[in-house]
């Protein structure tokens, strides 16, 4: 069976798995944004907590993904929860670190002039600092997303869904003539998802930054 024939026959299954895959990534990245951006703000404002936060989030990234998934099983059991938790932890570092560096690169003179005009701490953060740090934060979110699209393929090993199912089906049947098709099919769709997300972030960046900081 040729690769195109395989694709034609398994198109539906691959689409379902792609949807599961996207779900894993989106849920984990959205959670990481909700937690990571405030953590980044705290790390930016508090000298004391900065190294604690940055060290913890970077430690997450050093844990091998397979081990991380397995370690979570006793806590949350088999299924999508363990991979989502692990992916969430992986996604934190790029988001937190880029939030911190995005806020740090805001010209102190801009912050001072806002302060001098009587704009309070929260107003400065919302109206000046976060909008100026936004392109950098968005880059962090993009890196996290791409990272998780790759790592999510392992979710299948702890009972999760996604395109990992297709790839591991291929690995399990190594030696058979279909095996390469399965691995390539899963990989191809993962790359496709990554490209779609990249395009999405490009457009989002365009739409959410003004001409003044482009």
């Amino acid at each position: 069976m040729g690769f195109l024939e395989y694709l034609a026959q398994n198109y539906d299954a691959l689409l379902v798995q792609s949807f599961e895959h996207i779900q894993l990534v989106v849920v984990s990245v959205v959670a990481a944004i909700i937690v990571g951006v405030p953590l980044g703000i705290v790390a930016h404002r508090s000298e004391l907590l900065r190294s604690a936060i940055l060290n913890t989030t970077s430690t997450f990234l050093t844990v091998p993904s397979l081990a991380f998934f397995a370690l979570l099983i006793p806590l949350v059991g088999i299924g999508n929860t363990a991979p989502i938790l692990a992916l969430f932890c992986y996604a934190l570092l790029p988001i937190v670190r880029n939030t911190v560096s995005g806020l740090r690169q805001v010209d102190p003179a801009i912050v001072e002039s806002a302060k001098g005009m009587g704009i309070g701490s929260f107003g400065r953060l919302r109206g000046i600092e976060l909008p100026l740090a936004w392109p950098v934060i968005l880059t962090g979110v993009r890196v996290s997303t791409l990272l998780n699209i790759g790592i999510a393929a392992i979710a299948v090993l702890v009972g999760g869904g996604g395109l990992g199912q297709e790839i591991f089906r291929g690995i399990r049947s190594l030696g058979s003539p279909f095996a390469p098709n399965l691995v390539f099919g899963g990989t191809l769709f993962i790359i496709g998802i990554a490209l779609v997300f990249d395009l999405f972030y490009l457009l989002l960046g365009r739409l959410t930054t003004t001409r003044g900081i482009r």
Partner: protein
């Protein structure tokens, strides 16, 4: 301390002190100062003298350790800092425009916080842009990066004036701008200030800028101790102590050139002038009748065109429409003597033609005119010292 009348005081600093933990001496030590309503008071001093710290305590960007700030009769030392700052315009050297916002949004920052309606904001933004000499149609929807340095500085000033504050703080506002643009912005700002009469605290390290901008100058020593607080004329003619004299430097007479304007001095009004459409014999006659070595040709609107010397007129082909030296050096009556001297040096002409606002000829100033006014100023200084019995018989200043 000064002799400012109590009733006119807009800002009063009482024993204002800033002590940083872990430092043996205060950064600012018991500053007392009364700033009159509607004046520009310049804080000037060497770097590290505490002038910026002193200024930033007025809008409490730096909280004083002790002492009081009284604004228009109200003690603001403990009021809500953000509300206080909205009443005080603030301009810094780096300007600090918000790069992600348009010029209009930048200027509208405080009005928006105060909840002005859209029409009032639009109206105010356009009015302010016109005040600082920028066309609202052209600029209001631009972003800061689309402006030149000078234009950004103008927007910074407009933004600081957005809610028409009585008081403005300016921290080296023209410090990061090239000399030619700076000169123009200073003059523009003085023109605007003549209309709006804000009370302004202006910080600079440049004594020449202080002399030009200040109604009063406070020369500060370390820990913000006031060495002298007086109008610029007084600082230049009667420095209170060696520190002030050193700070002004050796060129005190030169600096005084910044105080005198062309309109205040006696111009040569007897220069031979012909209209470009007069005939050549009239021109020759007029030059012969004067004791000048050149003749000024003006156009129908009396705008100076060129200088013609006797050799230019002698030629049979002589023509008032061409030849001679073009008039490069012109100044307006509000220019300072320093500006005029500068023009002379640049243009190599040895004299400047004074023109009114429309460019029409008014008179000529040359080195002699300027020297005469410098001599007059020196005579005044001598008079001052003599009155103070500081001058002995030989005319030397006694110590």
């Amino acid at each position: 301390m000064t002799d400012v009348e109590n009733s006119d005081v807009m800002i009063e600093l009482e024993d204002l002190t800033k002590m940083y933990p872990g430092q043996p001496v205060p950064a600012v030590d018991h500053v007392n100062m009364r700033i009159p309503r509607g004046e520009i008071v310049v804080l000037v001093g060497p770097s590290g003298c505490g002038k910026t710290t002193t200024m930033k305590m007025v809008n409490r960007l730096i909280e004083p350790t002790s002492g009081r700030i009284v604004l228009d009769g109200e003690d603001v030392t403990k009021v809500n800092a953000n509300q206080l700052r909205r009443r005080i315009g603030y301009v810094i050297q780096q300007i600090g425009l918000f790069p992600h916002q348009t010029i209009k949004q930048n200027i509208a920052t405080v009005p928006k916080v105060l909840g002005w309606d859209k029409d009032r904001i639009d109206h105010r933004v356009d009015e302010l842009l016109r005040t600082v000499g920028m066309d609202p149609e052209e600029f209001r929807d631009r972003y800061p990066k689309e402006l030149s340095g000078g234009q950004r500085q103008r927007v910074g000033v407009a933004r600081a004036m957005s809610v028409d504050p009585d008081v403005m703080l300016m921290d080296e506002p023209f410090g990061a701008i090239d000399p030619i643009t700076r000169e123009r912005l200073q003059n523009e700002f003085l023109r605007v200030q003549a209309e709006i009469r804000k009370t302004i605290i202006f910080v600079t390290h440049d004594i020449d800028e202080a002399i030009k901008m200040g109604d009063r100058i406070a020369i500060l020593q370390e820990q913000s101790h006031i060495a002298q607080f007086a109008p610029p004329e007084e600082i230049l003619t009667a420095p209170a102590n060696d520190f002030v004299a050193d700070f002004i430097g050796s060129g005190a007479s030169l600096k005084r050139l910044n105080l005198t304007r062309i309109r205040d001095i006696q111009l040569h009004a007897d220069a031979p002038v012909v209209d470009v459409n007069d005939d050549i014999t009239t021109a020759r006659q007029r030059l012969r009748d004067s004791d000048w070595t050149a003749l000024l040709v003006v156009d129908a609107e009396r705008r100076p065109q060129r200088w013609l010397r006797p050799t230019d007129l002698k030629r049979p082909s002589a023509d008032l429409h061409q030849g001679g030296l073009p008039v490069d050096a012109t100044v307006e009556p509000q220019a300072t003597l320093a500006d005029a001297l500068n023009e002379m040096i640049i243009s190599n002409a040895g004299c400047v033609v004074v023109t009114d606002g429309r460019g029409a000829y008014q008179g000529v100033a040359d080195i002699d005119t300027i020297m005469a006014s410098i001599r007059a100023m020196r005579a005044q200084v001598d008079e001052y010292y003599r009155a103070a019995k500081l001058l002995d018989i030989e005319g030397e200043v006694a110590v």
